[in-house]
């Protein structure tokens, strides 16, 4: 199908049929702020932050739900739009702690600094695990809000810590619905839904049960989809952004999900599914998402060669252990030695193990537990 030509903020864009104005804006390198939008989910059009002006269209349509058409002329950044967006954000912020959001000192403020404005600790970004990696912060910073006219009402909802992997603090929720939609649309689970408590819609399980008693599979997709600090992995809560990310392959099943490991101080602080690939495309399961750091950094890891002496394992040097193994394995008739490789090791390691068997022992008694 032919490309669709349109203009966004004066730039010519060639979009593909089926794209939205938001997709086309990304293509043109034009930033449009969004909150309820998520690239893997169906367009939702709830937060109205992504509004734009389109010639010959009435009102302010949302970019994330409006398909591109030939000859469209789009403006994303007029004073009217910015004014409207500010209004939308301010409304969100009447129910979201915001003193730090509008404070010029935020980036320099540490968690234990004395607050200029004497703000309650539960209301400070600098004490929120998402500080610095928060989408809401980024959006506020982009649009620029100096102060919020309406008073802020603290929801006073108890933080839910009733599951092993992540915490739910719905005081920070902006009701974008991304968690609910990912759980339903992508995971097909529907453990959480928007539920009503008084006048407020908030995500939650049916009848407000604990996640442990719901259908939740602990995949963490909701945590990854959340733009705020409302859903946070417990173990990495206070770790911030980390120093670097390493892309690798999960070890827990044959799917081979691509995972980004975040590293800080030589330790893995989290493992988040990577998006740019043909295998898992942003998804994982409980094992790849939450069970990697604890295993790699387990205090029970073997750290030294061990040799059994008089029925007890004793630590040994590599030299001693390797020499013992080499001389022992060499002391039998070749066919008296069997070798087991591993479906958990790498290709390179399996290659070396089978070559070792075949070259050193001259037989083919090498296998792994492939049959289960």
């Amino acid at each position: 199908m032919a490309d669709i030509n349109l203009t966004i903020d004066g730039k010519q864009v060639q979009a593909k049929p089926g794209m939205t104005v938001l997709d086309a804006a990304k293509l043109a390198g034009v930033y449009v702020p969004t909150l309820c939008f998520h690239p893997d989910l169906a367009p939702y059009g709830a937060c109205r932050l992504c509004i734009v002006e389109i010639e010959k269209m009435r009102g302010l349509p949302t970019a994330c739900t409006t398909p591109v058409t030939e000859g469209m002329v789009v403006k994303t950044n007029t004073p009217q739009i910015q004014q409207f967006r500010r209004g939308v954000l301010e409304l969100i912020l009447t129910e979201h702690p915001h003193p730090c959001l509008t404070c010029w000192r935020r980036e320099r403020c540490g968690p234990f600094d004395v607050c200029l404005r004497n703000v309650d600790v539960t209301h400070r970004c600098v004490l929120c695990p998402k500080n610095g990696i928060c989408e809401l912060q980024q959006v506020v910073d982009h649009i620029g809000i100096e102060q919020v006219e309406f008073p802020y009402v603290y929801r006073e909802i108890a933080i839910d810590r009733e599951n092993p992997f992540f915490e739910r603090d719905y005081n920070l929720c902006i009701v974008c619905g991304r968690c609910v939609r990912v759980c339903q649309e992508i995971r097909g689970v529907g453990a959480i839904a928007l539920t009503y408590r008084g006048s407020n819609a908030l995500p939650g399980t049916a009848f407000g049960r604990a996640l442990l008693d719901s259908d939740c599979q602990y995949c963490g997709a909701c945590v990854d989809a959340c733009p705020t600090g409302a859903l946070i992995e417990r173990n990495r809560k206070w770790e911030g952004a980390g120093e670097r990310k390493v892309l690798t392959t999960c070890v827990y099943c044959g799917v081979g999900c691509q995972l980004n490991l975040t590293i800080k101080n030589g330790k893995i602080i989290e493992s988040v599914p990577a998006r740019e690939n043909d295998v898992n495309r942003g998804q994982a399961c409980v094992k790849g998402r939450f069970a990697i750091a604890d295993v790699v950094h387990s205090p029970e890891r073997l750290t030294k060669p061990l040799i059994k002496k008089n029925g007890k394992f004793e630590e040994a040097s590599w030299d001693e252990a390797l020499n013992l193994v080499a001389s022992k394995l060499g002391s039998y008739k070749k066919e008296e030695v069997g070798i087991v490789a591993s479906a958990r090791c790498t290709n390179e390691e399996n290659y070396v193990t089978q070559k070792f068997t075949r070259v050193v022992f001259g037989h083919n008694n090498v296998d792994h537990c492939a049959r289960l």
Binding site: G266, V296, A341, A343, N347, D367
Partner: protein, 547 residues
């Protein structure tokens, strides 16, 4: 995977994961995909959301059955009868893809002949599935295209596992569902690099890329490359090695990163075999039930502390990257094996890094020839990938089968090796859970996972529980001809009457103490999926647990 080799000439997933979401019909047989391959489970749900038909064949009411159009609750071990029954319906109603069969397949007459033994009365009786459902499933699968067929260990872990696999291949060929997007026969491999370990020749009968050891050309090729005298006689499988150890024929073993004590069928037998060894070296990242039996334990690094590649279930080779420094003095497995080889005087074990090993693999393995580290920086590559310009192969057998024509294989139904009787009246079937991995060596170190699923339970149907007077949560003793274990009973309609189910992740209630190591004659896979047991209330007396 021997079955697929007979039928197609190549034994791996024929298609790719991301095609599953576009299938018009999915037949998921013997796979609890949402638990064992969760991200592939998402693809199945995607297909269903788009209006695709889902047929689930499983003795247990797994999560996928909620999404299924047809659920065939067949008895454990009756897969052949079920699949052949479906083929009979397809042939009788003329729903087969005649053009495809004519152009691409051979031996249809022999298949037709063998189908005569599967009249629907027999099939209904053997499988326990009402004939109307079998007919419905057959019609849907044959007429809703593209259709993909997925299976896991529920198909292979039987004494007739190879026949099961060939039956799935017959069905796919009969309906022309091979060689096109979103079709195929797709064995979902369980462990992260089981595909790669097979590809690399960590098998007793082949070198890398399935080059047979018995073929003199291959022998010569590898002798030249490795500068050593090689043997053209296929070796022993793990199960056979354990038997040989038991008989004293194997005296020493070197086990790299496996825990056969829990993973092999018949744990007591395996443990006895390991204890009879004169010398045992085990390499692992943790103490396991197997390292405890060792004379020497060598500490290996985890996947996050080394470079390398894994090959996933869709034949995609992907990078494993070193993310953090090794703990203590732990070393990569390849380094350790290299050192031992050098100390034993072998040449050709001086690799500096994993990439160097991959270059050697590239040279000796046609299907991996084009899979270099430089290319893998841009993402995974699916074999066969014969040269560095080749984009990789997402779909196998597009123009012709690896063996030329696809071969229909006539199949005779054979019951499982051990059937329930008066003494052991229940069928035990085993499997994985979402929340633990394999023998639990790694995942049981994660508190959160243990909080969710920290012990092995035995699932019992409410009717059987009532007959036995067993309440939900009560400790029971499960006994087979090989041993007994205790576990908490979970009374649930998930399993059908007469069938009980256990995970095999837990040493404390080790399901493989019970399982039968009777082997499939070709693939040598033990029959993990069917053995006969009895269940009793645990009345005061101490259970006779072996581990």
């Amino acid at each position: 995977m021997a079955g697929l080799v007979t039928s197609f000439g190549s034994g791996a997933m024929t298609n790719s994961i991301k095609e599953i979401g576009d299938a018009a019909c999915i037949l998921a047989i013997g796979t609890n995909t949402t638990d064992t391959h969760p991200v592939i489970g998402l693809e199945i749900k995607k297909a269903v959301n788009k209006g695709g038909k889902l047929i689930v064949a499983n003795p247990r009411e797994i999560r996928l059955t909620q999404f299924a159009d047809v659920w065939l609750q067949h008895k454990p071990g009756s897969d052949i009868a079920l699949l052949m029954g479906m083929m009979k319906v397809i042939i009788d109603e003329g729903l087969e893809d005649k053009a495809f069969i004519e152009a691409r397949c051979e031996n249809l007459d022999a298949l037709k002949e063998s189908l005569k033994a599967y009249d629907l009365d027999f099939v209904e009786k053997t499988t326990g599935v009402p004939r109307a459902k079998i007919v419905e499933a057959a019609r849907i699968y044959a007429t809703t295209k593209p259709a993909t067929l997925l299976y896991t260990m529920g198909i292979t872990q039987h004494t007739h596992g190879t026949d099961n696999v060939m039956a799935t291949a017959n069905l796919a060929m009969l309906t022309g569902n091979i060689g096109k997007p979103s079709t195929g026969v797709n064995p979902l491999r369980g462990q992260n690099n089981v595909q790669g370990a097979c590809d690399m020749g960590a098998l007793p009968n082949v070198y890398t890329g399935y080059q047979g050891v018995a073929d003199p050309n291959n022998k010569q090729k590898f002798e030249t490359a490795w500068g050593a005298k090689l043997n053209d006689k296929p070796g022993l499988t793990v199960t056979e090695m354990m038997n040989a150890a038991h008989e004293g024929k194997i005296k020493a073993m070197y086990i790299v990163g496996e825990n056969p004590t829990l993973s092999e069928a018949d744990t007591n037998h395996t443990l006895e075999a390991l204890r009879k060894l004169d010398f045992l070296v085990v390499q692992d990242i943790f103490q396991t039930e197997t390292t405890r039996e060792a004379d020497v334990i060598l500490p290996a690094v985890s996947f996050a502390e080394k470079d390398g590649t894994f090959t996933n279930t869709e034949r995609r080779v992907q990078r494993v990257r070193k993310a953090v420094e090794a703990v203590g003095e732990a070393k990569p497995d390849w380094w350790i094996t290299d050192e031992i080889a050098r100390l034993m005087g072998a040449k050709g074990f001086d690799y500096k890094n994993a990439e160097e090993i991959m270059s050697e693999i590239n040279k000796l393995t046609p299907s991996y020839a084009g899979i270099t580290y430089a290319r893998l920086e841009k993402g995974g590559l699916q074999w066969p990938c014969p040269n560095t310009e080749h984009p990789g192969t997402p779909i196998l057998h597009t123009a012709q089968f690896s063996r030329g024509k696809g071969r229909f294989v006539p199949i005779t139904y054979r019951p499982s090796a051990e059937l329930p009787d008066a003494e052991y009246p229940l069928v035990l079937t085993t499997g994985r859970s979402l929340f633990q991995y394999h023998t639990g060596t790694m995942t049981r170190k994660v508190k959160g996972l243990n909080d969710i699923l920290g012990e092995g339970k035995v699932d019992i149907n409410p009717k059987d529980a009532q007959t036995l007077g067993i309440a939900n949560g009560e400790m029971v003793k499960i006994t087979s001809r090989r041993g007994s274990v205790t576990a908490k009973a979970s009374v649930t309609g998930v399993t059908s009457e007469g069938v009980v189910f256990m995970n095999f992740h837990f040493a404390e209630n080790c399901a493989n103490i019970l399982t039968n190591n009777a082997l499939d004659p070709v693939a040598k896979t033990p029959e993990y999926k069917v053995c006969a047991v009895r269940i009793e209330k645990k009345s005061g007396e101490l259970a006779n647990v072996a581990v």
